[in-house]
């Protein structure tokens, strides 16, 4: 009864909206946020889902365009991949190179970013821009000079060639991310720590890093992604089978197998992507926090 009265009162105060307007108003959130998000999720997930389902299919079934879901799912392709000679070594290589290409750039860029964010020195703006150069120059154009250089240094087919190139590629990215986060830490907090007796290391360790932690996690995730997915450098600078990383091994899989077994390709792809997805899922909350805080600050 009351509700009825309220509605009547409201309708006398406001003009009656058209049915279409009312409907649009009610579903505005859905159209503005829900629909684009749903599209984005489908856009991102369908290839992975397709690859996963394909990896469970019989090799011949993949050529039948009418089937999306496997008729009789099988893990045979995964068994084939795991049985490939050298697969364990490639995983080890990928993990090792990615770990080094994450930890070392993070340490270097934390120090560099702190310097850029907090110290006034000549040409700091120009230097920070120069930091971007390795990211601006197309990677492919670096391959020949890098190959020559690493050959002269005798580093071809060693882990060092991957460490050096991956680190050099990751440092600018993580430095740029961290400079923004470090600058967002109020200077007064650090000054307060200075008066409290904290030297530069203690300020960085106990004050700056914990406050800018979402930024460090974001930089770490991007370094992991870069290191794990890197393809151009490993292709150009490594020739030995035992030194390959997973993306390179995946690329070479077609040649090594001799037959077009898409189930195996897709199983290999899923096994390559899976560790990265797990890392993303573990760190997702932190990354979202950092993106949001970065946007607000």
């Amino acid at each position: 009864m009351n509700r009825q009265m309220t509605r009547t009162e409201e309708s006398t105060l406001r003009p009656e909206p058209g049915i279409l307007q009312d409907w649009l108003g009610r579903y505005r959130r859905f159209f503005l946020i829900g629909l684009p998000l749903a599209f984005l999720i489908i856009w991102t997930m369908v290839p992975i889902l397709w690859a996963f389902l394909a990896s469970l299919k019989n090799p011949l079934e993949i050529y039948e365009s009418s089937t999306f879901f496997p008729r009789s799912p099988s893990l045979a392709a995964y068994q084939t991949v795991l049985a490939i000679d050298g697969f364990g070594k490639w995983i080890f290589n990928s993990v090792l190179v990615t770990a080094v290409a994450t930890i070392v750039p993070l340490i270097l860029s934390i120090l560099a970013a702190y310097g850029f964010a907090r110290y006034l020195f000549a040409f700091r703006h120009v230097l920070l821009l120069l930091y971007l150069i390795p990211r601006i120059i197309p990677r492919v154009s670096l391959i020949v000079p890098l190959n020559d250089l690493m050959t002269d240094l005798g580093l071809i087919n060693t882990y060092w060639v991957l460490y050096l190139t991956y680190i050099a590629s990751a440092v600018p990215l993580s430095t740029w991310i961290l400079v923004g986060f470090f600058r967002a830490v109020p200077r007064e907090i650090e000054e307060s720590a200075t008066i409290d007796g904290a030297n530069m290391w203690n300020r960085l360790r106990h004050v700056i890093l914990p406050i800018a932690w979402p930024g460090v996690v974001t930089a770490a995730v991007l370094c992991i992604r870069e290191g794990w997915n890197e393809f151009a450098f490993v292709l150009a600078l490594v020739t030995e089978t035992g030194m390959r990383t997973l993306p390179y091994a995946l690329y070479m899989l077609k040649d090594s197998m001799g037959v077009q077994n898409y189930a195996v390709y897709n199983a290999f792809t899923i096994l390559t992507v899976l560790p990265l997805l797990i890392v993303y899922l573990l760190l997702e909350r932190r990354v979202v926090e950092s993106i949001v805080s970065g946007a607000v600050k």
Partner: protein
Amino acid sequence: MATSYVEYRELTKRFGSTQILHGINLQIEESEFVVLVGPSGCGKSTLLRMTAGLETINSGEISIADRVVNRVRAKDRGIAMVFQSYALYPHMTVADNLSFGLKMNKTPLERITKSIASAASILKLSQLLKRLPAQLSGGQRQRVAMGRALVREPEVFLFDEPLSNLDAKLRVGMRAEIKALHQRLKTTTIYVTHDQIEAMTMADRVVVMNDGRIEQVGAPLEIYDRPENLFVADFLGSPAMNLLSGKVVHNDGRMDFELENGIQLPLPDNSALRSDQQIIYGIRPEHVAFTDDDNGLPVNLTLVEPAGWETHLHADLSGISLRLLSVERVGARPGDSARLAVDTSKLHLFDPTTGRRI
């Protein structure tokens, strides 16, 4: 006898080509509560930060407890500072915020626990020790910031506009708390503010600064009652002092002050002034009152602002605006005519060329 505890000698500071401080000389005695007050950009915060060791010194000396500290690191100066934005460590609990400085200085755990308990008890923080700063109100955060300074047991407390982020009511409460804390601990305190009410109510001595220079130093009422120059006269007091330009004239053997519009105001009998001398005639709004005397100054009221405990009024004296302050309830309305009397014993006369008090 009180000794000079903090001393500035010919202190200067430049940021690039901009001179911020021009040879500051000041002595602060032990246990004294000194307030540095002045408009934004006058150099008061820079002076405080130089005292804390957060800014370098271009020339001159700062000494704390008879020790020149120009090259002493902030942590070794025996100071503690409370910042305007509290500057609490957001990722640490209240207890960790309080103990951070002591941990950095490798204080034994037993003493840290004792110090925190003592500071928390003084500042009523005992129930909040496990909370993060984000879970505290503005006043509580300010108390944590003060607690963090307190546990260091400093020789000098430095406050940089600590109440600016609080609402008006809380500010009054915290003002009293800081003053009470000082009376209890008797620690030498340098307090920076742009709020003259804070300066007047809290300070043992007020240092009025402008454009990197000290304009006047003195007890709050001394400065209020006898400003040494036009800047101090204009800066201290709300509503501000009426400062009227005009000249001295002779009238039947006595001297009067003649405004540019020809209206004459009384001057004290014994003032040593020349005829035709240009002066600035200063009178505080509370020293101008309504009168029934027909010889009073004829004005039209232009604005009436009742503030409850007092009323601020604006009046037009033939084209010249006057500010009045009445502690009585005023029934007058804008547009009403009135007559005013000036208390000549409370006049402030200034030289318009030098700005100095005559």
